[in-house]
């Protein structure tokens, strides 16, 4: 489903030497996998996720999703592919502060002009699924970090994506909330059949995935089956 070949990504750092975040990465992620990517800070995990999502253009190499080369698409088609095929959960608070919980969840649907009534119904269901069915009119500032992350997950699922990309989704959460969020990811993976690629620096989360990839210095270091896949 997702195929990365010879991916390199370097960031220009002004007068300094470019920083190579990814070096010659080859990776295949099949439909229905739950891949957990671990590594220390600066290992290139987030960059790898951004390259998979088409949010960062690789310096070298190709990224294909279902045999479609992302960087051969126009901006409009790439944006549509992201909107329809992928859901994102970011490490940082990514809800729009000026929108209510319901409006935030409906945002990806409204970006492509989907009819409000349909996406509203789906948003109700998803918010009920993540346990926030009673906070539709709340604003992000009125929610805890764990609740905000659950809204982000609901938002990521609004367009029924095939791929869910999560970057350190539980890094700011307490242990109990982290378990809740990760259990939610596992349910999404199992119940909805969504392919998940999740980046974390915590090795404890490896158990939630079907495959574990460890990264170091911009390369894939170790690949092992996750416990969920064993």
């Amino acid at each position: 489903m997702i195929r990365l070949r010879g991916i390199a990504k370097a960031y220009e750092m002004g007068r300094f030497q470019p920083v190579e975040a990814l070096r010659a990465v080859d990776l295949d992620i099949d439909r229905g996998e739950f891949v957990v990517i671990t590594g220390r800070s600066g290992a290139g995990k987030t960059t790898l996720l951004n390259v998979i999502a088409g949010l960062a253009k690789p310096t070298r190499g190709s990224v294909t999703i279902d045999d479609v080369d992302l960087w051969r698409l126009s901006d409009r088609r790439l944006s549509l592919l992201r909107n329809r095929t992928m859901g994102f959960v970011f490490q940082f608070p990514s809800l729009l502060a000026s929108l209510s919980v319901l409006q935030n969840v409906m945002l990806p649907a409204s970006l492509t002009g989907e009819r409000g009534a349909e996406s509203r119904e789906r948003a109700y269901e998803l918010l009920a699924t993540v346990g926030l069915g009673d906070r539709l009119t709340s604003y992000p500032a009125q929610l805890s970090a764990g609740q905000q992350q659950r809204v982000v997950i609901a938002r990521a699922l609004i367009n029924g994506p095939e791929i869910l990309l999560a970057d350190e989704p539980s890094s700011d959460l307490d242990e109990e909330t982290e378990v809740e969020i990760m259990t939610l990811f596992r349910r999404i993976h199992l119940d909805m059949g969504v392919t998940v690629a999740l980046v974390t620096h915590t090795r404890q989360l490896v158990s939630y995935g079907t495959r574990h990839i460890a990264m170091a210095a911009g390369r894939l270091a170790v690949e092992t089956p996750g416990q969920a896949g064993v």
Binding site: T46, T47, N50, A53, L55, A56, K57, D75, R76, S79, L80, R82, N83, R84, F88, F90, F92, S94, L96, A97, S98, L99, L107, P108, S110, L111, T112, G113, R155, N159
Partner: protein, 399 residues
């Protein structure tokens, strides 16, 4: 991205950063207000001069040599000319080859704050009804006949109503009608025949606080209509060459001093408007660079969720143009209302007349001022919007 979502986000961002929104609105306000007030004054002044020339209806105006500015001032601003030319010159002018009609006019004024005058300091034009082509055609068309003794017509701003008595120098006259506006002093001018002026002068010796003097055998100016097919320039040159002590001015060159004053003001206003535009552009660019920097992560998230580059630019432009629309409309309306309310004060301060336009023309001027504000703010916002839209979403989301 659907326009409702874009507009909703833009409106929420505006409400979320009031100071920036006020500053952007203020930029648009200043541009529109200055552009509209400049346009109203300059176009109004040009209209006034054109209408005043049309009102006089002359191809050539003959004035005493050296009194060109005085006569212009009399007609436009009501500052009565004290220079006269011999009445005999009228016949000499009429005899010049190419002259069709030569009609004399005498410029007078009422007394200021005198009990014998119903209105204070009114400019009076006395004309010869046998030769006049300034007022008489209008009288025939609108009122069906010429003015008799003790009758007058006024400019549109004369305060005495039609079909009422008006007393000047203790002499009663009947107001028969009012002329269309020109925006000049002609709108506050009373037109009477030379016979009425002389009767008023005779009566004033016993009825007025100070008598009116109408110099015998002297006139203030002579309005000339050239014969069909004749070149007004050539006729004007012939009059100046043939009749000593006079200057003949062709109609388009009348009010030259005022035209030059208006042109000078227009140049100055355009320079100020240019500086104001540059300043507003710099401020708008700076505000939008700040805004896009503050919102780069949010814009990156929008891109990740499926917003195209164009949608990001559109969202930012909707924000800028909405503020420009509100600020610009407010500025244009305040300028229009201000120029209308302080018209008299502005005429006196600027030293030349200008006609406040009718609603249709006013709407066009307001629309153009608003369009300028929209274009300036829109153009200034486009650069930072394009810049932020070209960044990689991942780069935009990074701290």
């Amino acid at each position: 991205m659907r326009s409702r979502t874009l507009t909703g986000l833009a409106l929420r961002n505006m409400a979320g950063n009031e100071l920036r929104s006020w500053l952007l609105g203020l930029c648009a306000f200043c541009i529109a207000a200055f552009a509209v007030s400049t346009a109203l004054v300059v176009h109004g002044a040009q209209d006034s001069l054109r209408l005043a020339a049309e009102r006089l209806g002359a191809d050539v105006v003959v004035v005493p040599h050296g009194a060109e500015t005085q006569v212009d001032g009399a007609l436009l601003m009501g500052t009565v000319s004290k220079t006269w030319m011999p009445g005999a010159d009228v016949a000499r002018i009429a005899a010049v080859r190419g002259v069709g009609v030569a009609s004399p006019q005498v410029y007078l004024e009422s007394l200021s704050n005198a009990s014998c005058c119903a209105v204070s300091h009114m400019f009076i034009v006395a004309y010869d009804p046998r030769t006049d082509f300034t007022v008489e055609p209008w009288l025939h068309q609108k009122l069906g006949g010429e003015l008799s003794l003790q009758q007058a017509v006024g400019g549109c701003d004369v305060t005495v109503p039609v079909n009422r008595n008006i007393m000047l120098y203790g002499y009663d006259m009947w107001m028969r009608g009012k002329l269309e506006p020109t925006g000049t002093n002609l709108d506050q001018t009373l037109f009477v025949t030379l016979s009425t002026a002389r009767a008023m002068a005779a009566s004033s010796r016993t009825t007025a606080v100070r008598p009116l003097t109408v110099p015998k055998d002297s006139v203030s100016s002579v309005m000339v209509k050239v014969s069909p097919g004749q070149d007004p320039d050539a006729v004007a040159r012939a009059i100046s060459a043939t009749v000593p002590g006079v200057t003949a001015i062709v109609s388009p060159r009348m009010f030259a001093a005022y035209r030059s004053q208006i042109s000078g003001l227009l140049d100055m206003m355009l320079v100020v408007l240019g500086l104001l535009l540059v300043l507003a552009l710099v401020v708008t660019v700076a505000l939008f660079v700040m805004a896009t920097h503050e919102r780069r992560r949010e814009l990156g998230v929008l891109r990740a969720l499926g917003a195209t580059r164009g949608a990001v630019v559109t969202s930012l432009l909707i924000e800028a143009l909405t503020l420009a629309l509100v600020g610009g409309l407010a500025g244009a309306l305040v300028a229009a209302i201000g120029v209308g309310l302080f018209h008299t004060l502005l005429v006196s301060a600027l030293g030349f007349p200008f006609l406040f336009p009718a609603f249709g023309r006013l709407a066009v001027e307001v629309g153009l001022g608003l369009a300028l504000a929209l274009a300036a703010v829109g153009a200034a916002a486009t650069l930072p919007a394009l810049r932020v839209s070209r960044r990689e979403p991942a780069d935009a989301m990074r701290e």
